[in-house]
């Protein structure tokens, strides 16, 4: 009985409900949500350490043993993502406190954010396919509300396509689940994996796996990302940062789970397809990132490039490459949140999202400028920062497996990332200052503090990657050997 692992999901949800009752007391709402998320960070770290000593933990809801009941499973990979999610959320909440207005907070802003986090954590922890669907939907419902939050014209416009595309992809998900249930008669991931391994991955299962690939490509923005830049540029900064850091990662996590645990028997079809998609994503994301003049769009295209990069690791599928991917996911969650927050701060300071309307910001806001510089280097993978170790391991994996095309594409894309962000840096931070120091709106300390926290985190992760190395190695080990996962579910 490991009731502990339900709390990363249930704590945010319970708090979200509780906050509805104290709608009028905004100050209490703010601090309760931050404190609960901090507690959640601590708790998930405890679970992560527990997984190292006790092995994979599982919780059968209502005492129904697998494969009959629904269950939560905590292994190193999922717990690493849960920990990072909670940390990023604390920082985004701190930023939101000082940036979103009172009228937003009054309309259950914190409740929706906590529901979103509950959904994200549940998707990381769930051990069966249908629960994955439900967690996705909880997360998406909260995100629908958040993307339209405040009801500005642009948000309303962008949210309709966002919802429509997500409903369609949820439909494909449901159809794929129906087919899996019709063919194999179970939805428990471990049980499915066992049956597929015993009876072989028949062509019909491969077709179903491609349906899943389409679903998660839509959710994570792997080639089917056309909805992403427009939707992620519409909502307020703190929400956009949460979306950019977390939502695509959930799709990526699901893809890793499905294609390492269930459909790993036909890599020449499924994994090659993922490789092709990842390569195309890298190319088109790079083109998008350098083509735009709007900071929000450049930043959103950077999310897409990262998705392509992470999934190169899954396409290669060796132990080293997957370790690299895990490092890179964690790095990307932290740095993308920071990037979105800085971009949003720049826009709110200069009043326009267009690059040619900003200039010389570094003179009045030196810390912001240098933080942006750090993010740029981290995303490009310069050594003392967090992007480096992931890139090295992924590159090593690619060389071992001999996939030189993907290797070349993923490292050329880093140049495009660097170029697109350097363009922002040179245009917006360098050059003549448009306004004198007195006219520029002051940058409040409350806004700067969360940014610095994330900046320190990326340094820490870059300088001491071995601090999380054991967890990453264990996570990759579990992903590469599905039998560890299956044994943990069925041993008791």
């Amino acid at each position: 009985m490991n009731n502990m692992i339900v709390f990363p999901m249930i704590l945010p949800v319970l708090t979200a409900i509780f906050l509805v009752f104290i709608r009028k007391h905004i100050l209490i709402q703010r601090w309760i949500s931050v404190i609960v998320m901090l507690a959640n960070v601590g708790l998930s770290i405890v679970i992560l350490l527990h997984v190292q000593t006790e092995g994979i933990m599982r919780l059968d809801f209502g005492g129904w043993e697998p494969p009959f009941g629904i269950l939560f499973v905590a292994d190193s990979f999922s717990m690493l993502l849960v920990v990072t999610t909670n940390i990023v959320t604390v920082v985004c909440l701190l930023y939101a406190m000082f940036s979103v207005g009172k009228e937003f907070e009054y309309m259950f802003f914190y409740s929706f954010v906590l529901f979103l986090i509950g959904g994200v954590n549940a998707s990381f922890l769930t051990g069966d396919l249908f629960n994955l669907f439900v967690s996705f939907e909880v997360m998406l419902l909260a995100s629908y509300a958040l993307i339209a939050f405040g009801g500005k014209k642009i948000q309303l416009k962008k949210s309709i396509p966002y919802i429509a595309i997500n409903v369609v992809s949820s439909w494909i998900f449901l159809v794929a689940i129906a087919y899996v249930y019709g063919t194999l008669g179970t939805l428990n991931l471990a049980h499915l994996s066992q049956i597929i391994a015993e009876e072989g991955q028949t062509p019909i299962l491969t077709v179903i796996s491609i349906l899943f690939l389409i679903v998660f490509s839509l959710k994570s923005g792997l080639l089917l990302y056309q909805w992403l830049p427009a939707s992620y540029s519409a909502p307020p900064t703190a929400i956009a940062a949460l979306f950019g850091a977390l939502l695509t990662k959930v799709g990526i996590y699901a893809m890793f789970r499905i294609f390492t645990l269930l459909f790993y028997h036909e890599p020449q079809i499924t994994h090659m397809l993922i490789g092709v998609l990842a390569g195309l994503t890298l190319i088109s994301g790079s083109i998008g990132a350098i083509a735009s003049n709007d900071i929000r769009y450049i930043v959103s295209y950077n999310v897409i490039i990262a998705v392509g990069f992470i999934l190169v690791g899954l396409a290669i599928g060796t132990n080293t490459a997957i370790e690299g991917s895990i490092y890179y996911i964690i790095h990307d969650m932290i740095v993308k949140a920071l990037l979105f927050l800085i971009a949003g701060t720049m826009i709110s300071l200069s009043g326009s999202p267009k690059m040619n309307r900003m200039s010389g910001l570094i003179r009045n806001y030196p810390i912001l400028g240098w933080l942006f510089f750090i993010v740029m280097l981290a995303l490009a993978g310069i050594p003392p920062l967090s992007g480096f170790i992931g890139k090295v391991l992924l590159g090593k994996g690619a060389i071992e497996a001999g996939s030189y095309v993907l290797l070349a594409l993923s490292f050329i894309s880093a140049l495009f990332v660097l170029y697109s962000l350097l363009r922002i840096f040179m245009d917006c931070f360098w050059g003549e200052t448009m306004l004198s120091a007195e006219d520029e709106p002051p940058l409040r300390k409350g806004i700067l503090f969360p940014l610095i926290v994330l900046g320190v985190l990326t340094f820490a992760l870059g300088l001491a990657p071995e601090s999380i190395a054991t967890f990453v190695i264990d996570g990759a080990e579990t992903l590469v050997n599905p039998s560890i996962y299956i044994d943990a579910i069925f041993d008791q």
Binding site: F130, F133, V134, E137, L140, L141, Y144, A145, A148, G151, K153, I154, L156, K157, S159, I160, I163, A164, V167, V168, S170, W171, L174, V175, I177, A178, Y179, Y181, G182, L187
Partner: protein, 112 residues
Amino acid sequence: METLMIILSGVLVTVATYLILSRNAVRIILGTALLTHASHILLMTMGGFGGTNVPITGENGADYVDALPQALILTSIVISFGVTAFFLVLSYRTYKELGSDDMYILRGRRNE
């Protein structure tokens, strides 16, 4: 029975696709609602139509229907109900705010 249900599901998907591809926001919402219902029928068909009794243990012997697809469908209905309701409210707000529910007018980066 199975064939009939699959055909019905297919017809629903056809109608839903037609509706989603139209320009009117309300039609798109109706399309998404129909789409999820098509998948509910598919789920039910995939569970098979065996069994004649309610799945309560201890009664009526062993000849009970598979309860899992029904549980899945119920969950999915609740979710699709929530999404459709939210979508309707949102498109209504959009209509009030922007004065149109025509996707052709709402598209692009004008008046941002």
